[in-house]
C-alpha cells in the first residue's frame, strides 16, 4: 500500500471524519464507474458506491495493512454490485422500451441526450443501446471480469486477486463474456457496412 494511503486508512480507523471524507473524494469516481459498468444503471451505481464506503468504514479496522487498497475497494464494489443485481433479479422487473430508456438517459446528470446533442446520430444512439443490452445479457460474474479488464484497465492478475480466483479462470470468464457479446452483436459484425470503425 502506498504510504499516504496507509496514513489515510490509519486515520480513518481512529475515527477521523476528515480523513474519511478525503478517502471518499479520492475513490468515489473509481467505485461509481465500476458499479455502473456492472449494474448498467446510474441509481444502482450510486447506491452501490455509497454502500462500499459504508462497508469501508465498518471494516477499516480489520483491513490488512499490506494489502492493496484499490484491490480491496474493487473487491467490495464487485461483490456489492453482484449482490444488488441478484436482489433485483429476484424481483419482477418491468421491461423498458427504447423510448423509456431514452428518457432515463436524458435525465441522467450530465448525460447528453439525443435532443440536446443533435450531432449525435440516431445510429450511434441505437448502437449504444445494443451494446448496453448485450452487456446486460452476459452473466454478472463474466460481466464483472469483462468490465474490469476492458473499461477499467485492470490486469488479469489484478482481477484474479480481486475475485480470489486463478488468472486462468479470469481468462476463461473473459473469453466466455466476449463470445456472448459477439453473438449478441453479430448484426454489426456480419454487416461490414455497419461495422464500427476504429476511430
Amino acid at each position: 500500500m502506498v504510504r499516504d494511503e496507509q496514513v489515510l486508512v490509519d486515520r480513518i480507523s481512529t475515527g477521523d471524519n476528515t480523513a474519511f471524507q478525503e478517502f471518499v473524494e479520492r475513490y468515489k469516481k473509481k467505485i461509481y464507474y465500476i458499479a455502473y459498468d456492472i449494474t448498467g444503471d446510474h441509481d444502482d451505481a450510486e447506491d452501490v458506491s455509497q454502500e462500499v464506503f459504508i462497508k469501508v468504514l465498518r471494516s477499516v479496522k480489520t483491513f490488512r495493512r499490506n494489502a492493496k487498497i484499490s484491490s480491496w475497494l474493487y473487491q467490495i464494489s464487485v461483490n456489492a454490485s453482484i449482490d444488488l443485481l441478484r436482489k433485483k433479479s429476484s424481483k419482477p422487473e418491468k421491461l423498458m422500451d427504447d423510448i423509456e430508456r431514452a428518457d432515463i438517459q436524458e435525465n441522467l446528470p450530465g448525460s447528453s441526450s439525443l435532443a440536446q446533442n443533435p450531432e449525435r446520430s440516431a445510429e450511434d444512439f441505437i448502437i449504444q443501446n445494443h451494446i448496453s443490452e448485450a452487456l446486460q445479457k452476459v452473466s454478472p460474474k463474466e460481466r464483472s471480469v469483462f468490465v474490469m479488464r476492458h473499461y477499467n484497465e485492470l490486469k488479469i492478475r489484478e482481477i484474479a486477486e480481486i475475485l480470489s480466483v486463478s488468472p486462468g479462470t479470469v481468462k476463461a470468464l473473459f473469453y466466455r463474456a466476449t463470445r456472448k457479446l459477439r453473438k449478441e452483436l453479430s448484426f454489426y459484425l456480419g454487416n461490414p457496412g455497419l461495422e464500427v470503425s476504429d476511430e
Partner: protein
Amino acid sequence: MSDCKKCQDLFCEAFYEEIDAEQKRFLESHIRVCEGCKSEYAGMTSTLKIMEKRARPEPEQAYWNGYWSRLARRMEEENPLTPKSESWRRTFIRAFTFAPKWALQTATALVLVVLGIYLGKMLFSPSAPAVQQARQMPAVASQVEPDVEFTHRAQNYIERSKLILLALINFDPETEDPYALNLPYQQQVSRELVREASFLKQGIADSDQRRLQNLITDLEVILLQIANLESERDFEAIELVKKGVDSRGILLQIHVTDFRQSTKVRDKKTPSPTASDTSLNM
C-alpha cells in the same frame, strides 16, 4: 492441451498486450496455419472494438459535488459504526459465486450422498426399537442416580465446548471467509455453556473432582471470551482466544478426560471390583 486451446487462452492477453514475446510468437505462428483460431481471434478483436464504442454517461460536476452530503445523510440513517452481521444466505451465495465448476459439482455430489444416506437410514432402518427406546427414555432418566446424571452433563459440556474450540482454532483468517466461522451461533452456544458451567461447578464443589473443576473453570474463561468477541473480523481477539486455549493446555486436558472416560467404559465392559464407580473421578 491442444494448440488451439493454448491459443484461445492467449487471446485476452494478446488483445491487451499482456503477452510475452515467446507467447506472441506462438500465437502468431498458430493463427497463420489454423483457420479456426484465426477467425475466432478476428471475431473477438472486432467484438472488443465495438465494445470500445460504448460511451459511459459521465455525471455532471454538480453530482460529484453533492456526493459527500448524500453519503453523509445515508450514513446518519444507517450508523455504519454499528457492526452489521451479514446474513448466512448472502455469505453462502457469495462463496459460491466465484467458486470453480468442479467445486460446485463436488459439493452437489456430497449433498446427494449425504441425502442418500439420510433417506436410506430413515426408510430402511428398523423403527420399532427406536420408538420403544424413546418411550423408555423418560422412565430410565427418572431412575438415573444424580451422580450419573451429573457425569453425563459434564461429558456433554466438555464435548460441546471442544467443538466450539476446534472450530475457532482451525479457523484461518488468511485463507477462509470470516463469516464461515458463523460466530453468532458459536457465541450463542458459548453463552449456554457458560451458564451450564456454573451449574456444574456447584455440583463439583463438594466432591474431590479437582481436575474436572479446573477444566470447567478454564473452559468457562475461554467460552466467555468467545461470547464477547465483537465480530468475525476481530482477528486480534480471536488470536488471543487461541493463545488462551494453548497456554492453558485445554485441549490436552480434554483429551486426558476423554481417555480416562474411555478407560472407564472399557473397565465397565469387563467386570472388575471398581466397575460400579460411574463418576468421572478426576
